[in-house]
Amino acid sequence: MYQALLTRKYLTSKIMPLLAAVAVMLCTAMVLTVWSVMGGFLSRLLESGRSLVGDVTIEWPNTGFAHYDELIDLLEEHPRVKAATPMIDTFGLVSLPDNRVEGVNIRGIDPKTYGEVVDYTQALWWKPLDKPAEKDHKGEDVRLDPRYKELFEAVYQEGLSLSEPDSKTGVPQWAAVPGIEMLGLSKREASGIYRLGSLGKALPDGGVANVMTPAFQQRITVRVVPFDREGRDVRLVSRPFAVANEFRTGVFEIDRRTIYIPLAAAQSMMKMEEAKSAVSGGTPAAGGAFNPYDLNADGTPAVPVITGIDPARVTTVLVRAKDGVSPDELREACDQVYETFAEKHRDVPAARTLRENNLIRTWEMRQAQFVAAVRKETSLVLFILGFVSATASFLILAIFWAMISEKTKDIGVLRSLGASRAGIAWLWIRYGLAIGVVGSLAGGALAWLVVSNINPIHDWMGSVLGVTVWDPRVYYFTTIPNTIEPVRAVIVLISGLVFSLLGAIIPAIRAATLDPVRALRFE
């Protein structure tokens, strides 16, 4: 009772406890901010898997596997599987409109089924919008402009189908969808939107005109090195593509270095489409064409004899889990399904081979090294910060020690009025608790302010101070994670409270054990 009164009076009339509360506030804010950003980074990393490759991938790089349609049918029959889609995942070179040549990841996808496994439609950037994106407060997004609604609708459809009508004939052509950071034409704004590209063009009168050059009106050339069925490389294959649209996942490396092309295009470029295998040795049909240099042993002209059909191949099958199925459970399912599949076909890699090479993987497994590094780094930083925060405890201890010396006489008076030792101890512990509560809550609020505005703060730092801490090339994502998980907040705030309490305990014990008469005579 009197403790509450005195705590309130001490808190409001003294500067020292306020300093202690500020120390607690700064410590909790610091730990919570760092944990939120780094932990948010980690969980974003894990979540991004879904938008990039689905939950589980089954791979056989380079040569790829045949009969993938059958594998996909088998997978989709499994109760844990929601959808599966084939993909060719390979490296290649892209010649960009500004004549740069970049090494990129080429993904040949089947646009119809790909969207069922991966949030592809979400990722397509250029499409008409009805309302501004989350951070676009001023509504400056060009996609909102009603004049371009039709244009963007067409561009969106082209992105969905990965095809674009030929400018002269109108016949649909294969088209590509690169990540939005690849061409360097679409410029990101602080508010998270992109401006359409424009280039300065010299005019005959010596002036310069700003010419709109939207990325989706460009052409690029894609080059790949195909492998044959045995894994030998053949020769460089190059093919021009119209850019249909651009996509954005928010994962910088992907947005900069990935390009989608139609699966059929990739299969044809990679020599993975269905092919007939043949040997020479037949005799040409009467009046049929033949190669004069291809002769049978007896000198008669030879023609190829079809010995079989070499089925189309893909390097990867992406699988998405049904809701509530964890990636690891799905991986087990995929493993089983693949086993059944491989038993039926002699021309696909054995289940054991895939297993030994760890090629049926969740996104977390694909990113294992990186994820582990981030995890380690997060816990190390938290450990160090926790250690630093422990100094707040000592600060409170020192401040309380000083205050108790100052308040010795008051303690003597309270004892003379009948306050018990426990009551005096509780007075100080309660006081520490009050500082902890005030400090922690203020720290939580501060962290919330900082974390939820971390991107504007970072942009401001970049433009005013010229400091860029979050380089998307290093940290993967173009924006800094900006949410605080309630569980983390609770843990950090309670720790702040506990540290404050720890700091108060020793001074409280000292206060409780003071001899009242000595305390009263204290000068």
């Binding site: 009772m1 309270l414 009948g418 306050a419 008469v517």
Partner: protein, 228 residues
């Protein structure tokens, strides 16, 4: 039966290796409602005696006993002593000892808070009594002030009000009128006389003032560590 009975109390302070005997066998009896004045030169141990009577300090081990209402203080135990100080005794210290962060009003009610605890605290009743006490001491217009804003005499009167808020059986006052002019001091003594009559409040008062001593039922002198 005597309310408060001290027999053969010794108190020795140790300064390094030297023993400084302050009280050497003090015996005193206080009846309910009685007013006992203690006279003595500075340093003679008057404050020390009051502390011992109030259960704040102890006589030297095995040398002397203080009995309140039939119960020896040494048998009360820690919690018992806390309760004794809170419920039975009112202290008025030589140097006021008010809590500087609290207002006059709060300085008085805090004693009741300690006594009654959180659950049994009767705020309205306590506030009313505190107000009445302070008004009777001429402090009705000072309720919201901090001790630092009061004169020495006003502080002393606040301290007296604090000592009386819990309706103690005995008031142990260390020169409560030392800082007051004759008229104010007289008023306070009149008020205390009223409490003695109405609440059977026993008073042990240290004083240097012969006039104050003259109002007491009994005057004892502390000389050479003994009462004469």
């Amino acid at each position: 039966m005597a309310l408060l009975n001290a027999t053969n109390v010794h108190k020795t302070y140790r300064l390094g290796k030297v023993d400084v005997p302050v009280l050497r066998g003090v015996s005193v009896t206080v009846e309910p409602g009685e007013f006992v004045a203690i006279l003595g030169s500075s340093g003679s141990g008057k404050s020390t005696l009051l502390h011992i009577l109030g259960g704040l300090d102890r006589p030297d081990a095995g040398k002397g006993e203080v009995v309140f209402d039939g119960t020896p203080l040494s048998a009360m135990g820690m919690g018992g002593l806390d309760r004794y100080r809170s419920e039975r005794v009112g202290f008025v210290f030589q140097f006021y000892h008010l809590l500087p962060e609290l207002t006059v009003m709060e300085n008085v009610t805090v004693a009741a808070m300690i006594r009654q605890g959180r659950l049994r605290y009767k705020a309205a009743e306590v506030t009313e009594r505190a107000k009445a006490l302070l008004e009777s001491f001429g402090l009705g217009h000072r309720l919201g002030h901090r001790p630092a804003e009061l004169s020495g005499g006003e502080r002393q009167r606040t301290a007296i009000a604090r000592a009386l808020i819990n309706r103690p059986a005995v008031l142990l006052a260390d020169e409560p009128t030392g800082n007051l002019d004759r008229v104010t001091g007289g008023t306070i003594l009149d008020a205390l006389a009223g409490h003695r009559a109405s609440e059977k409040l026993a008073t042990v008062m240290v004083t240097h003032d012969q006039e104050v001593a003259a109002r007491a039922d009994r005057v004892v002198r502390l000389v050479d560590g003994r009462l004469a």
